[in-house]
Amino acid sequence: MTLSRDEAILLLPFLANGTLEGEELKQVEQAIAADPTLQAELAALQNIRATMRAEQIDFSPGEMGLTRLMRDVEAERKAAPAAGAMLWKIAAALLFVIAIGQTVLLTTDGAPEAGYTLAGGAKADFSITVQPDATEAELRELLLDAGVEIVSGPSALGIYELALTQAASRDSAAEKLRTASDIIESLEMAD
């Protein structure tokens, strides 16, 4: 197969930069051998290429750019484990919520007066957030001891609303929740 003149013209810049190989190279060289116009064009292209390559850029980011790059890469590398840990915390919180939900379901026999009622309209006495590493068993034990039950939550911010059971005293429950700082992260009393 022989290249047409038009095809050869398309490949002239690649003859000028020396990237043509094999049969393609041979055919383009043959095409220009007998064509003064193509020879002139090739010479012009070689000139343009040589002129472009001879010119040096005055400035490049160099070592300053490398310092900036390394700084950002290091920051990213440090942030990556933290992001991983955050994912684990979120996953643990979700598991915790599921465990609470299952406990509620298992301890409810259907009668409104037995166990947690989770009535959306129940008035809350306390708002709490829970330590990320607290277990469901620890929280359950504390809430039973303090005489409170979860009436809503967790919210998107991880806040649970607690209400006193009939037998419990508000001050006593508050004291027990407040002192259990290894389980309760924050406590607020409702008005």
Binding site: P13, G18, T19, A43, I48, M52, D72, E76
Partner: protein
Amino acid sequence: MIGSCCILTGNTKQAEANLETAHTLIKRIADGDRTALAELYRSMERSVYRFILSRLNDPFESSDILHDVFIEVWRSAGRFEGRSKVQTWIFGIAYRKVIDRHRKAGRTKLSDETPEIIDEADSAETCLVASQDAAQVNHCMSQLTDEHRSAISLAFWEDMNYREIADVCGTAEGTIKTRIFHAKKLLMRCLSALSQGVTT
């Protein structure tokens, strides 16, 4: 450390011999080796920066894009499959980042128009003198569209073949051949006009 001028540039036999080295560097970067990233940066920084600068004509913006390119290399090295040369992969990232920057800035293409008074048949001969003048070549390059300028830059600065340029620009080989053909014609006509004292 690998020499800073030629590890990944050009299509010389030396560059081919260094291909495996470049792929090894990328593997090391994928494994979190920052010294490998520094080595790659030192070997390619100037040529990638020159390519970006030729398209943006803004040193500060070009420095930022260069930084973004190597951050992406750091993040994506694990996804480099080795089907292309490391050089074309990195220039491809730079090519796309400049396009993104143009889009964000709402920049429009520069006009392809050049003076029509020059006979095409005479262009090659009449532009010979101007083609040796860096200022005139730079001026005519600046008149090209970004696509044309990119293709010529990759062909003449980086000595890429048309397959590699197509790879960088994410387009067909035939498109690159015709793109460079048109860019070349516009360049020659512009240089011819300058040789004959016509203001472009």
